[in-house]
C-alpha cells in the first residue's frame, strides 16, 4: 500500500478526531461533575452550527469571526438549560435528569425543524472554504486544519482551566464529594450551572469550527452525539484527557478502518472498538 495514502488517512483521522475530542470534552465535563449524561449535546452542536450559518447567511459574518459569539451563545444556552431543565430535577433519581435532557433534545430539534426546515445547508464562500494545503503529495483541507488546531487549543485551555484555576479546583471537588464541597464554602449549584455552560460552550466551539466544512441540518448533531458518548465511555467518564485521546482514536479508526473495510462500515468499526474496550476495561481506557 502506498505510504502517502496511509499518511493521508492518518492525517484526516487526526483532523476530525480533534473535533470529536472537543465535543466529547464538553459532554464528559458535565458527566464528571453532575453524573448527568446530556442527551441534548448533539443538538447544542446543531444549534451552534445553525447560529453560525444564519449569521453568515443573514449578516455576512464569516464563521471564523462569529466563533466567539457562538461560544458565548452556547455558554448561555448551557446556563439556561441548567436553570430550566436540570435544576428543578436535581436531588431526584439521576434517570429523571437524563430523560429531561432527552426531552430537551427532541424539543430543540423539532423547533429548528419547524422554523428552518429539514434542508441541508452549507457555507461555501467563507474565508477558508475550498482552500487546501498540499505538500509531499498530501492534501490538507484548510477548514479542517484550522478547525483541528482550534479544537486542540480550546481543549488544552479547558484542561488548564480545570486543572489549575480556583474554579477548576472547586469543580473537581464538587465532582468528587458535593456535600464536603459545600462545607468548603463552594456554591455547588453555581458550579453545576457554570459546568453546564462550559460543556455547552465546548460543543459550541466545535460546532462553530465544523460549520466550515460540514453540512448543517436539524439532525446533524445525532451522529456526533452518539460518537461522543462512545468517546466519553472509551476515555473514562469525566476524564478530560481521556476524552481527548479517545476522540483521536475514534477519528483514526473511522478514517483508516473506513478506508480498508468500506466507508459504510466506519461506525461499525468504532462500535466494535467500543465493545472490545468496554468488555476488557469497563471504566474505559483512561478511567479511574
Amino acid at each position: 500500500m502506498d505510504v502517502t495514502i496511509f499518511l493521508q488517512l492518518v492525517i484526516s483521522g487526526l483532523l476530525i478526531g480533534f473535533v470529536f475530542s472537543l465535543i466529547a470534552v464538553g459532554l464528559t465535563l458535565i458527566w464528571g461533575v453532575m453524573d448527568i449524561l446530556n442527551f441534548a449535546h448533539g443538538d447544542f452542536l446543531m444549534l451552534a452550527m445553525f447560529s453560525a450559518f444564519l449569521m453568515f447567511a443573514n449578516l455576512g459574518v464569516d464563521p471564523v469571526f462569529s466563533l466567539p459569539v457562538i461560544v458565548g451563545l452556547l455558554f448561555f444556552v448551557g446556563l439556561l438549560t441548567f436553570r430550566l431543565v436540570i435544576k428543578p430535577v436535581l436531588g431526584y433519581h439521576a434517570l429523571i435528569a437524563l430523560l429531561a435532557t432527552f426531552g430537551l433534545s427532541i424539543f430543540i430539534r423539532n423547533v429548528v425543524l419547524f422554523f428552518l426546515g429539514p434542508d441541508f445547508r452549507v457555507i461555501n464562500q467563507s474565508v477558508l472554504a475550498g482552500k487546501r494545503i498540499s505538500f509531499l503529495g498530501l492534501h490538507l483541507s484548510l477548514p479542517q486544519l484550522v478547525s483541528a488546531i482550534g479544537c486542540v487549543l480550546i481543549t488544552y485551555v479547558v484542561y488548564l482551566f480545570i486543572s489549575k484555576s480556583k474554579f477548576g479546583r472547586a469543580l473537581r471537588a464538587t465532582a468528587l464529594d458535593k456535600d464536603t464541597a459545600l462545607l468548603m464554602g463552594i456554591n455547588t449549584n453555581r458550579v453545576f450551572a457554570l459546568t453546564f455552560g462550559l460543556g455547552a460552550a465546548c460543543v459550541g466551539a466545535a460546532g462553530g469550527f465544523l460549520v466550515n466544512f460540514y453540512y448543517v441540518f436539524p439532525e446533524v448533531g445525532l451522529n456526533f452525539a452518539i460518537l461522543s458518548f462512545v468517546i466519553v465511555a472509551l476515555g473514562g467518564f469525566g476524564n478530560i484527557g481521556g476524552a481527548f485521546l479517545a476522540g483521536i482514536l475514534v477519528g483514526l479508526v473511522e478514517n483508516i478502518g473506513g478506508f480498508f473495510v468500506g466507508p459504510e462500515f466506519k461506525y461499525t468499526l468504532v462500535f466494535i472498538l467500543y465493545l472490545i474496550v468496554i468488555s476488557l476495561r469497563p471504566k474505559g481506557l483512561f478511567g479511574w
Partner: protein
Amino acid sequence: MLKVNDISVRYDLISVLDNVSFLVEEGQFVAIVGANSAGKTTILKTLSALVSAFQGTIEFFNERIDHLPPYEIAAKGISHVPEGRRIFDKLTIKENLLVGAHVRDDQQDVLETLEEMYALFPILKQRQTQKGETLSGGERQQLAIARGLMAKPRLLMLDEPSLGLSPILSNKVIHTCEEIRRKGTTILIVEQKVTEVLKLVDRGYVLQRGQIIMEGKGEELLESDLIRKAYLGL
C-alpha cells in the same frame, strides 16, 4: 459567638435532636460528648445546614444563620471538619488544602496559611503533590483539620477527629486541637473519647438520645457521677 437555641431535628418522623441549646464563647474549646447515635454529628450538620432543623434558632455573632445555605455558613467563618475526614481522594494534598481556602480571595495570605499548615503538619508538606487517597488514616485526619483551618475560620467544628485512629494517634490529634485553640481559633468538637477531651476543654455538654443532659466545665464533668458511671465505668 455561637448561640444555639432549642433546635430540634427529625429524620423522617424519628426525633434525633430534641430542644438542644448551647453556647460557644469566642476563644473557647468546647466539647459535646456522648455515645454513638446520641445525635452529635447531627448537631454539627445542622449548624452547617447540611441538615435542617424544624424548630429553633442558631446565631453566630448575633446574626441568625439558620436559614443560610451551607456555603454561606462556611463564608461566615464556620469551618466543619466532617466525620470520616471526607478528603477529596483524587485531588493532591495541596489542592485539598487550597479547596479549604475557597472562601478566601486574598491569594497571598492563603499561601501564607498554607505554609503555616505545613509547619503544623510537616507530613503534609512532604506529601503535598500526592493524591489524597494515598494517605493513611492519621494523615487523612491531619489533612482534614488543616483543610478546615485553611479558611482561617472563626469557629472550627470537628466531628470525631479521633475515630478510627490508634490511641496514640487519637491523643495526638486531640492535643493538636488544643494547640490550635492556643493560637486563637475557637473550637467546637464532638467526641466519643470522653476522658481525653474533657480534660482539655473549657466547657462540655453531654448529649444523650438527642438531649443535652448535663453541662459544665470539662474537669467538673469528669468528676461528675454521671460521667464516671456512664462513660468511664467507675
